[in-house]
Each structure stands twice: as structure tokens, then as C-alpha cells.
Symmetry: C2
Subunit: 153 residues, 2 copies
DNA sequence: ACTGAGACTGAGACTGAGTCTCAGTCTGGC
DNA sequence: GCCAGACTGAGACTCAGTCTCAGTCTCAGT
């Protein structure tokens, strides 16, 4: 936090836009967490925090933050976008637990190198990689084993 | 085609469901193409072909086909689902051109092995892998180079 | 063939994430 | 202070996808 404000301000200035109070509120809320969040989460959080910002403004600000590469959008096929800080580990992948919805991350440079190589082999100019592994997290896998054992016994 | 009908019929029978005319119409349309398609594409196609099937039924049938693993759903962050045949190359990745929207595929067993290994290292039980590389296809990259050259010269 | 339980259908209402519009407000260079 | 143009919130709108419901069809049992 701090760097982000700077980057955002620079970006806004370059495009003749202003760092207004609602934008600052959103910026602080966004960079005050390290979780993946949705626009709706953020709107609810701001509401609860007593600093409500309208839906339209939240979406507009998230869009600006994505444009200046401070945020990255992710889609896990839920019909809504998840956001995360772009500054975290670069080009990491996601593990999405279909049972509890938990999202965790992993980073493996070999995976990135391999993807880059494959893309270029196909004449493709890669900009962003998105590796999503769907399945069950350790907790849910364990729960399922216990439940299945119970069902049998 | 043929195998798919068999698999679908077996699945339906096992669940006390019927292979009705609208379902058959959808099945034929779905397996009559090898492209990635959206529900909307399919509805429009059936309309044009003079064999319209209602939106609700199309969605219901696509959902059944996904359940019995004949189709796989994909999300490229467009706010709509793309479908493809599950029988095609297994666990392949997608190259999505952000300029023209074209979707192409690649298959690399090393990528799958690596993903499986990474997931299990994290205690995660993988069910499905989704590798999406966003960027520019060869055509669009070339177009862009020409356009940029033109802008400078 | 007839019957009844329950599966199926289409039309259209509904949902929910995200976008757009618009009137009123704010910002900052002059 | 003025003004162009950026910004805001409220709520209308869009659009993919889901749900509802009344009417229809299917098929096992007779």
C-alpha cells in the first residue's frame, strides 16, 4: 500500500482523471485485503464499513485498477469475476475447490516457461496465462473420505 | 456420432429420463460441429435449421450432456459459457485471441503431468485442469505489426 | 388400448452480475 | 468565480442463465 496509490495516481493523471474520495475509498478497501474478492464482496464490505460507494462507481474503479494493471480479473465459471492484486506472485495458478469454493494459489516457474513455449510454437503471442485446477482441497477431500466411510459402515 | 447417442441414452435410462425429440435435436446439432459454441449459438442454429428448441430445453439438455461428460463447459471471462466435446483430446489447453476472439487448442502431456504433480503437492485432489493462454493469434499479431509499421511510416 | 405417475416442454417471468444513462455535483486550469 | 469536462449515485437496462407452471408426452403396469 503506498506504491499502489502512486501507480494509480500516475495512471489517472496521465489520462486526465482525478483521484476522488470514492476512488480512494475503493483503493484502500481493495489493497487492505489479500484475498480474492468479487465486486459484490467489495460493495458489501464498504457498506458495512460505513463508507458506501455506489455499485456503478465500484465497477468503474475496479475496471480502472485492472486497466492500470494493479488488479487482475479471474473467472472461475461462476458467472462473476474475482479480483486479486496483480503485484502478488506473477503468473501463478489457482486451485479452486468445487466443494467449498475456496481458492488457493501455487507458483511454479516450469509451468510458466512451458506455457510460453507452447504458445509461441503455435505462433501465438501470449499476454496472460490462466491455469485453474478444479477439484477438492485437502479438507474437503478428507471430509468426503469420512462421509463415504460412514455411509458404508 | 453414434457413440454419443449411446452414452447419452444409457445415462438417461440410468436416471429414468427419456431421449425425447427435442433432446435428440440438440444432441445432433451439438455433435454435428467440432467448434466451441455457446448456448446462444446453438439456439440460433436450431432456429435457422428450422428445428427450434426452446431456450430452457437447450440449457437443460446442455446441462445433461455436461453431467454425463459428453460436453465440457469453458469460461473465457465473457460472461457466457462455451461448450466443447469432451471426447476431443483430453485435458488440452486453450489459446484465446483477445483481438479476434478465436479459440484454438493445444495439447502437451508434460503440462498435464506437471499440473497433476503440483496439485497433489498442495494436498489438492484434481478433477479438471483448465489452461487458458490469452494473447494474440498469429494473424492478429501480424495485422498489428503491419498497422504499427503503417502508423510510424 | 387405457391409466396414472411422473418426466418433458415452451413461454415467459425471474435472477443476478455487470453496464449504461442522466441529472446534479465536483475539480482544476484560467 | 467561470467553465469544460470529469465524477457520482440511483436506478433503468442488458443479457446469460434459471425457474415456474400449465399443458403434453412417455411408458410400465394392467
Amino acid at each position: 500500500m503506498g506504491d499502489e496509490v502512486q501507480i494509480f495516481e500516475d495512471y489517472l493523471r496521465k489520462h486526465s482523471l482525478h483521484l476522488t474520495a470514492p476512488r480512494e475509498t475503493v483503493l484502500h478497501a481493495v489493497f487492505g485485503t489479500h484475498e480474492h474478492f468479487t465486486a459484490d464482496d467489495l460493495i458489501a464490505h464498504l457498506q458495512r464499513a460505513g463508507t458506501p460507494v455506489s455499485k456503478a462507481t465500484v465497477y468503474r474503479t475496479l475496471s480502472l485498477l485492472s486497466e492500470c494493471s494493479l488488479l487482475i480479473e479471474h473467472d472461475f465459471g461462476q458467472g462473476k469475476k474475482y479480483y486479486e492484486h496483480a503485484s502478488e506472485l506473477q503468473h501463478h495458478g489457482h486451485l479452486y475447490c468445487s466443494d467449498c469454493g475456496r481458492i488457493s494459489e501455487f507458483y511454479d516457474p516450469r509451468l510458466n516457461a512451458l506455457q510460453d513455449k507452447i504458445a509461441r510454437q503455435e505462433g501465438f503471442e501470449p499476454v496472460q496465462f490462466a491455469v485453474k485446477i478444479y477439484g477438492r482441497c485437502a479438507d474437503c477431500a478428507a471430509k468426503r473420505v469420512r462421509r463415504d466411510a460412514g455411509a458404508i459402515g
